[in-house]
Assembly symmetry: C2
Homo-oligomer: 351 residues x 2
């Protein structure tokens, strides 16, 4: 089954995704009966390209690598224009692949892109946590009313299944709460602080290695973890949080001494994102550094390892670990969502 | 959608399953559109009962609790007879719920029960590891040819998704190998040995607490872990192993000193089940006590906690943890498989 894709955002993740679907083309066609074709790429500052018959992906990747703006014979259509055109395509699967960066103020422009896709009758896969962190219920209901899918496995823990884990493999389970280490930069820094590093050089090294952003405040102030906590609570516990409603404490230079003294006591300081229900049944979510005893599964996480412990009714505590992170895994998350959308189509429509 | 169930085996797991579907009846009907009804129970030594219109489950549970044999107005039909009659039922879903105990020699009688179910046009859900450990490929192909499902999530790590995790949430992923701690009794004993206990009293306590069987050799000689390793390798890596083809070393009184000296070196002895491909592409599986450094995720497992690390191509290492075990979780595995079978039915057949 042909799947026409419009990529909105074409940074590291979008580019890795474009390569991954080329690398996996045979397996996708034979094992999953889906033949993805990129018909558009829209970026905010580096041009755009759209072609009904499929764009020249290799050229777009080369242009991006060389810092040249994208352009094609059809001009430079915006994301909104591309989604309108995608909606009229004859392909049985029309999919927005949303990978713009998170705006922690309001989750935009990703939410607008997804709304435009839904209204045009297109499915969405996104690795952006903004839409689920700020507007999950609204987007879910709007997508359901339009009969399209809205999937976002890459929003938390890259391609390691978290949302699909609960949705697909834990039917009839109630998630009562969760605890997790879900931000790699702060976990890396905390590991370095334990080893005697000071905060500023530890952060600088993360930035030099490309693990932390140049503007690291999203990570160290706990915003990234708060957005993930809101996303998890909204999807798994039916909450209506935003990152701004998550009680949030980040890490800073003063954390170094706390991390080392925790280690001296045989425990470890980790930035923990958690959620539970209060006495009135409301979901309360928190991000803060916590001193964890050695027996705590989260205390053993080093470097970029992430983990999430789900507190459930019938299965007790279940944890899933990502032991390494990286671009390929985030790109894979988008691919796994694309395959999930294919699986939801009637079997008879294959070919 | 009505689902008629024949329970073959009615020990602790089967009894807990019978209670669980009663407890979850509302959620099953409203959220999953399935209304299970137990029409038969067959046991080897404690009688059998079958009734097309559904048996009196409360009475069967009371009889079992009191040690009375099951009996009903229709005589005492064997498992084979029950599956034949189930095959002729008018219910749209006819399901064998197989929970007999593992025969480590050959995986029987469970394999025969499943073959009989398939041949009668019935689906199977089982918590028994024998069928997947001894005959996965044969049963999978026979079920596929008959158009019925054969699911077995409870065979490894109770209801924590392992098989469904890969099948449902990791499409296009290749599992290259795995390492895990998958036997609770030996992990419990190794934890006790580290704390200074001797082997025999540690084992006796596990037996007194109902964690270990009276005949503990399946656990301590590594057979249970070997059966799980074979099951995992057969399903996740397309191997054709049996428990007897797994290289196997158990634990015994001599293990105590090894566990304590590992702890003195800051590491821990754990019974690890693992598999990988050798140079010729053949799957090789092993069960043996291994000394693991503290950083190893498996070294931190205490008591009945289990964990499995999957080595994958696109997602690197992914681990899933079961932080507590128990009957409810094994019973839930059967329930989640039942819901998976319901989900595979055409949506229009609901009601």
């Amino acid at each position: 089954m042909r799947a026409d894709l419009a990529l909105v955002g074409f940074g590291h993740v979008g580019q890795r995704f474009a390569r991954l679907i080329a690398e996996q083309a045979d397996a996708l066609r034979t094992s999953h009966e889906v033949e993805p074709r990129i018909v558009g790429i829209a970026t905010r500052r580096h041009g755009s390209v759209y072609a009904e018959e499929g764009i020249d992906v290799e050229r777009a990747l080369a242009d991006s690598a060389a810092g040249r703006p994208l352009e094609g014979p059809g001009g430079c259509p915006s994301a909104a224009e591309q989604l309108q055109r995608l909606g009229t395509a004859s392909s049985p699967l029309r999919v927005l692949v949303e990978t713009t960066t998170l705006a922690i103020e309001d989750g935009q422009p990703a939410i607008r892109h997804i709304e435009a896709a839904i209204d045009a009758g297109c499915h969405t896969v996104t690795a952006n946590k903004g839409p689920v962190a700020f507007a999950y219920r609204r987007l879910r209901d709007r997508a359901a009313a339009a009969g399209v899918s809205f999937l976002f496995e890459g929003a938390v823990m890259d391609g390691v299944p978290v949302f699909n884990l609960v949705r697909e493999t834990m039917p009839a389970i109630t998630v009562r709460g969760f605890r997790g280490v879900v931000n790699s930069t702060t976990n890396h820094i905390l590991t370095a602080l334990e080893n005697g590093d000071a905060f500023a050089p530890a952060l600088a090294r993360m930035q030099a290695e490309g693990i932390a952003e140049a503007d690291a405040s999203l990570d160290v102030d706990g915003w990234d973890a708060a957005a993930k906590a809101a996303a998890l609570a909204n999807v798994l516990m039916d909450a209506e949080l935003t990152p701004h409603l998550v009680e949030r404490t980040g890490i800073g230079p003063e954390t170094a001494e706390r991390a080392r003294s925790a280690l001296r006591r045989g425990s470890r300081l980790r930035l923990v994102a958690s959620a539970s229900r209060d006495d009135r049944g409301r979901v309360v979510a928190t991000v803060r550094p916590e001193e964890l005893p050695l027996e705590d599964l989260l205390s053993g996480l080093r470097g970029t390892a992430n983990a999430l412990i789900l507190h459930t009714d019938l299965l007790g505590d279940v944890a899933i670990h990502q032991l390494g992170g990286g671009l390929t895994m985030t790109a894979y998350a988008l691919l796994s969502d694309l395959i999930a959308i294919r699986r939801r189509q009637p079997l008879s429509s294959s070919g």
